[in-house]
């Protein structure tokens, strides 16, 4: 076991991690931040997506020890302290961007990363960016619509909910 220290959602945290402890295990089991989900555990689905030093990563495919000294943001860090949802989260609520909600933490983290890189993406760019995030429920349409809305673009012309 080695001691790992990182900033998670703005707070400095430390814990013990074995060499093979994944970042997602550290977040969920050590820090009890269970908003980050494990869908596939094989790097395919993106449910475990978090930001490490501002970059979108699959936390099931990175070791906790590799995140030592980094700045990690999880879905729990997206809303304001008083519970006010982030723009992306609010747009998912307003536009029915989720059904069961299992993929949603990863979708929100991916969407937030996208809008930081590309504040006004086209629909095609949104779909392309979400290649690593799988949703079994929605058919993606309202997820894409939510992200377009969060970017401040008019989503009226997109098909009905």
């Amino acid at each position: 076991m080695t001691k790992v220290t990182m900033t998670v959602n703005g707070a400095s945290v430390s814990g013990e991690a074995a060499g093979n402890t994944l970042l997602v295990e550290f977040l969920r089991e050590e820090l009890r931040l269970t908003g980050t989900h494990v869908g596939c555990d094989t790097s395919q689905c993106g449910a475990c997506s978090v930001h490490v030093d501002g970059k979108l990563v699959k936390s099931c495919t990175m070791f906790a020890a590799e995140a030592d000294g980094t700045d990690v943001i999880t879905i729990e860090g997206e809303a304001a302290e008083d519970g006010t949802l982030s723009t992306v989260q609010q747009a998912f609520q307003d536009h029915h961007g989720l059904q069961c909600g299992f993929c949603t933490p990863g979708m929100v983290m991916a969407a937030t990363a996208l809008l930081k890189e590309n504040p006004k993406p086209s629909e095609a760019e949104v779909r392309h960016y979400l290649e690593g995030n799988i949703c079994r429920c929605t058919g993606y349409h309202n997820i894409v619509k939510s992200i377009m809305a969060a970017s401040g673009q008019n989503v009226e012309p997109m098909a009905a909910e």
Binding site: T2, A18, G19, N20, L22, D41, T42, S43, G46, S49, K55, L56, V57, K58, C60, T61, M62, F63, A65, E66, D68, A110, A113, L114, Y129, E131, G132, N133
Partner: protein, 262 residues
């Protein structure tokens, strides 16, 4: 996963020393190795993480005009940083998905030499040099079949030098579930000739299609490839596509790559 220790050296020299331990293995971005470890297909005693080695990341242009990319540089960094070599930047931008590109590295991709990976085609068509802690290996000698390279045990890819072609493009026919290349073709027109490298197709891994190179040396146009085809024999035949299909798609992708490069 089996248990192992994880070390995070800060220099190539320390990494090479750590890799000298029994059953030690390098960890690049982990985008291939971590899934492999989860399947218990590898059982290292020590993983030596290369991601904290500053001297192995970054992109610069060398005096001879070639592009030097650190072995630990991520696909995402190449996608935005290799603007002097748009064919290579495009290849990097098309690997996997954004999260994979933020972790996966050039060195890891070339060390792994997956028969469906993109970088082997880019390195072979560019005539790149793979630089390790011990030596420099020309791409033509480096790739030795499925998942096999000239690398020795414990050797680290520290840098890859890509001569920048006059024109180039990579065309990937994606296997939609994995996003790897069902077939990928990199075409590069250099001052001293055209090189065409094909990934995803052959049972022997990445290869150069010399007939296409000869035709393109006469005329660098998609039409120059009319009538050229590859034999189905020796092509990968699996549930994603038959050998004859892959041979056909290779010719189609080569034409598209030439058109995109022109």
């Amino acid at each position: 996963m089996y248990a192992f220790d994880l070390e995070r050296p800060a220099t190539v020299a320390d990494a090479v020393t750590a890799l000298g331990a029994d059953e030690a293995q390098a960890l690049g971005g982990g985008q291939t190795l971590i899934p492999t470890l989860k399947q218990r297909l590898a059982s290292p005693s020590v993983l030596v993480s290369l991601s904290g080695i500053a001297e192995m990341t970054g992109i610069c242009t060398r005096d001879d005009g070639s592009l030097a990319i650190g072995g630990g540089t991520t696909h995402a960094a190449v996608a935005v940083g290799a603007d002097v070599f748009p064919g290579l930047a495009g290849l990097a931008a098309g690997i996997g998905d954004p999260a994979v590109r933020n972790r996966g590295t050039v060195g890891g991709s070339l060390a792994n030499n997956d028969p469906s990976a993109c970088y082997p085609a880019g390195a072979l068509a560019s005539g790149a040099t793979i630089v390790t802690n011990a030596r420099e290996i020309p791409a033509d000698d480096y790739f030795q079949g499925l998942f096999t390279t000239a690398l020795e045990e414990g050797e680290v890819v520290t840098e890859v030098r890509f001569p920048v072609p006059e024109a180039s493009a990579y065309m990937k026919f994606e296997q939609p579930a994995s996003r790897f290349a069902l077939v990928g073709v990199f075409v590069a027109k250099h001052a001293d000739g055209v090189r065409v490298a094909v990934t995803g197709a052959s049972e022997n891994g990445v290869f150069r299609w010399s007939e296409a190179e000869a035709a393109l040396n006469d005329s660098f146009t998609a039409d120059a490839l009319n009538g050229l085809s590859l034999p189905a024999e020796g092509m990968i035949n699996d549930l994603h596509g038959s050998d004859a299909y892959r041979a056909h798609i290779t010719a189609v992708m080569t034409k598209r790559a030439v058109t995109a490069a022109c």
